[in-house]
């Protein structure tokens, strides 16, 4: 049994992004809240990693941190965000968030799409202008060529009559079309990593399926790694290769989607699985929800964050935090039911 984080490494050729002990704090009137707590995980080239968790578990903040977009009162307290850009490895956590270096990565090597397509596009600029702006920022081509490229991108994301739509303003487009335009903008500079922060949550179910289908298609076409953030396990199942389950700013379980779905080890993951409605499942079985609420990051004690809601809670759970330890190779879990490694021990070692 090896500690999960040690087996990875940005040195490995296929690794694209690696978070090492990343912590993000938010200053509030009641004190400092640690929203992301010594988080470590890796995303490989061409891999889609699904990050799942309830709202407030730190998944979006992690994404923002990778973009260098953590806003005041939040700040990166410690840790590294290592990103392989060509031959060099850049620690994004150390870059000036308003500096040139991070701006050259943003929208170029790493791009992002957001939850709210209705408000994420600037209402006073045309769709085409907004896409062309991203292209012009990162490529040395003429304005006219950038506009042409923007139309091509709109076509690539399946927007009908792309030339006309490029001249339209965001309020002319439906939510699904706007999200397609956002995707076109994000893919326009051929990024190595696409961060999708709940891209389908605000959309209707049928539109959701279309957008997911589009993203799967583009993933193959553009060969980008995707960090897919969602609270919807169903979406993960159709999109992701790898899954990271987050709870209170930490990963509690990780592994290939197929393995984790077949045999979830953490009680939180198990709880989430049981709360998915299934068409095939027995009708009599009642849909379960996880009892209790997520504690506030301000109230985190010395023990496991899930202890207050866990059906299998033991004494040790309230005293120490379990480390994320690999179980049988590909799957890792942070739970004392499966091992006795505490967070402190793993850090000492």
């Amino acid at each position: 049994m090896a500690i999960a984080k040690e087996e990875s490494g940005i040195g490995a050729n296929h690794a694209l992004l690696e978070l090492r002990d990343l912590s993000v704090d938010f200053e509030t009137e009641q004190g400092t809240a640690r929203v992301v707590d010594r988080l470590s995980y890796r995303i490989d080239r061409d891999e889609t990693v699904g990050i799942v968790g309830e709202s407030g578990c730190g998944k979006s903040v992690t994404a923002r941190a990778v973009m260098g977009l953590v806003e005041s009162p939040g700040r990166i307290a410690s840790g590294q965000i290592l990103y392989r850009h060509g031959d060099e490895v850049i620690d994004i956590a150390k870059l000036d968030p308003k500096g040139r270096q991070i701006r050259e990565l943003r929208g170029n090597a790493i791009s992002m799409i957001f939850q709210e397509p209705m408000t994420s596009l600037n209402p006073v600029f045309s769709i085409g202008d907004q896409i062309a702006e991203a292209i012009l920022l990162h490529q040395s081509i003429t304005r006219r060529d950038a506009a042409e490229k923007a139309v091509e991108m709109l076509d690539a994301v399946g927007i009908p009559l792309p030339r006309e739509r490029a001249r339209d303003f965001p309020h002319h487009l439906s939510g699904g079309m706007r999200q397609r335009a956002m995707i076109a903008m994000a893919m326009s500079c051929n990024p190595s990593l696409l961060i999708a922060d709940e891209p389908t949550t605000a959309l209707d179910v049928t539109i959701q399926a279309q957008v997911l289908d589009l993203m799967n298609k583009l993933r193959a076409e553009f060969q980008a790694a995707i960090m897919f953030i969602t609270h919807d396990l169903g979406v993960i199942a159709t999109m992701a290769d790898q899954i990271r389950v987050m709870y209170l700013g930490r990963v509690v379980e990780s592994g290939p989607v197929s393995t984790v779905f077949r045999q979830p080890l953490h009680p939180y993951t198990q709880g989430m699985m049981q709360s998915i409605p299934s068409l095939r499942g027995a009708r009599k079985r009642r849909l379960q929800s996880i009892a209790g609420n997520v504690p506030s990051p301000l109230e985190v004690g010395p023990g496991c964050g899930f202890a207050s809601r866990c059906p299998h809670v033991m004494d040790v759970c309230r005293k120490a935090k379990p480390a994320l330890v690999s179980e049988g190779g590909v799957q890792s879990v942070a739970c004392f039911q499966h091992h006795t490694h505490t967070e402190e021990a793993s850090h000492a070692g």
């Binding site: 005041s72 943003r106 791009s111 709210e116 994420s120 600037n122 045309s126 920022l137 309020h171 903008m185």
Partner: protein, 306 residues
């Protein structure tokens, strides 16, 4: 867009009619006999009678109202009881002087407030932001007649650099324009800042940053362009306030404008001039309001293209 402009233009007719009627009614509400007022307290009865006849005060109210309406529509605002000149000839040069003062003051205020407001929003909650906030607060709490007098004392009396009042050379423009402009700038800065803070908190700002747009462009292109919608309305309302403030400013600096004419005519009981000045002011306010609405529609693509 064209339809909206036509609609707004047509709307002027009822608004203007209501205003003119309102003014007519108001001046008939003034206690006392208007003829007596115009003639003066100690005027002989024959003079009062003559004025009454000349102005038609002896006729029934509805006839008076009708005549008044016709005259206003013809641009005839009556004759000044003080200078015996047609009101329109008295008022017109004053309108131009006031337009100069208010226009330059607005320009000053817009430039200063856009710069300070944007800087303040960029440095949100930082000492820079706080000092801008304090500056604008002090400005808002210092009425034009206080800052104007302080400026006169300092620049004209103490240093002797600038003239005390009047309107002859370019030097005469500086104090009135800056005094009036600074007050408006303080008002605007506060509002520009809050519009900008609001715009910078919107989702599309994150999108722009995530694209790799430089912070300078995020503020001055993405945020400012959006904040412009409310800001233009503010400036439109502000132009009204600047014209209101010009009344006081003109009095302080002895500026031969419409506002001072209005105040002087009130103090000398020159009723036709007062009425005329108010009508011109009202017409200006309505025109300004119309222009602001059209401008707003032009800036907002959601209105422009629908």
């Amino acid at each position: 867009m064209l339809r909206m402009i036509i609609y707004r233009l047509l709307l002027i007719i009822p608004v203007g009619l209501v205003l003119v009627s309102f003014l007519f009614a108001l001046f008939h509400l003034i206690p006392g006999d208007p003829a007596q007022l115009m003639a003066g307290d100690n005027a002989p009865e024959e003079l009062v009678q003559a004025i009454r006849q000349a102005y038609g005060f002896d006729q029934p109210v509805h006839i008076q109202y009708w005549n008044y309406l016709i005259r206003v529509l013809q641009g005839d605002l009556g004759v000044s009881t003080y200078s015996r000149e047609p009101v329109i000839d008295v008022v017109w040069p004053r309108v131009i002087n006031t337009a100069q003062l208010a226009g330059l003051a607005m320009l000053f205020a817009i430039v200063i407030s856009l710069i300070l407001g944007c800087i303040s929003a960029m440095f949100w909650n930082h000492p820079v932001d706080k000092s801008v906030t304090v500056f604008s607060l002090v400005g808002i709490c210092t009425p034009v007649f206080v800052s104007g007098l302080i400026a006169i004392y300092f620049f004209s009396v103490y240093l002797g650099w600038l003239p005390i009042g009047g309107k002859a050379t370019w030097k005469h423009y500086i104090l009135p324009v800056v005094t009036l402009g600074a007050y408006q700038a303080a008002m605007f800065t506060r509002m520009v800042r809050s519009c900008m803070v609001d715009a910078l908190g919107r989702d599309f700002i994150v999108t722009a940053r995530a694209k790799g747009v430089a912070e300078r462009l995020v503020v001055f292109k993405h945020a400012l362009r959006n904040a412009l919608l409310p800001i233009i309305t503010l400036f439109g309302l502000g132009l009204g306030h600047t014209l209101g403030g010009s009344v006081v400013t003109e009095t302080i600096f002895n500026w031969p404008g419409l506002g001072r004419l209005m105040v002087d005519s009130i103090l000398t009981r020159d009723l036709p001039v007062t009425q005329g000045a108010i009508q011109i002011f009202a017409a200006i306010f309505i025109a300004v309001n119309l222009i602001v609405d059209v401008l707003y529609a032009w800036v907002d693509p959601r209105i422009r293209y629908d």
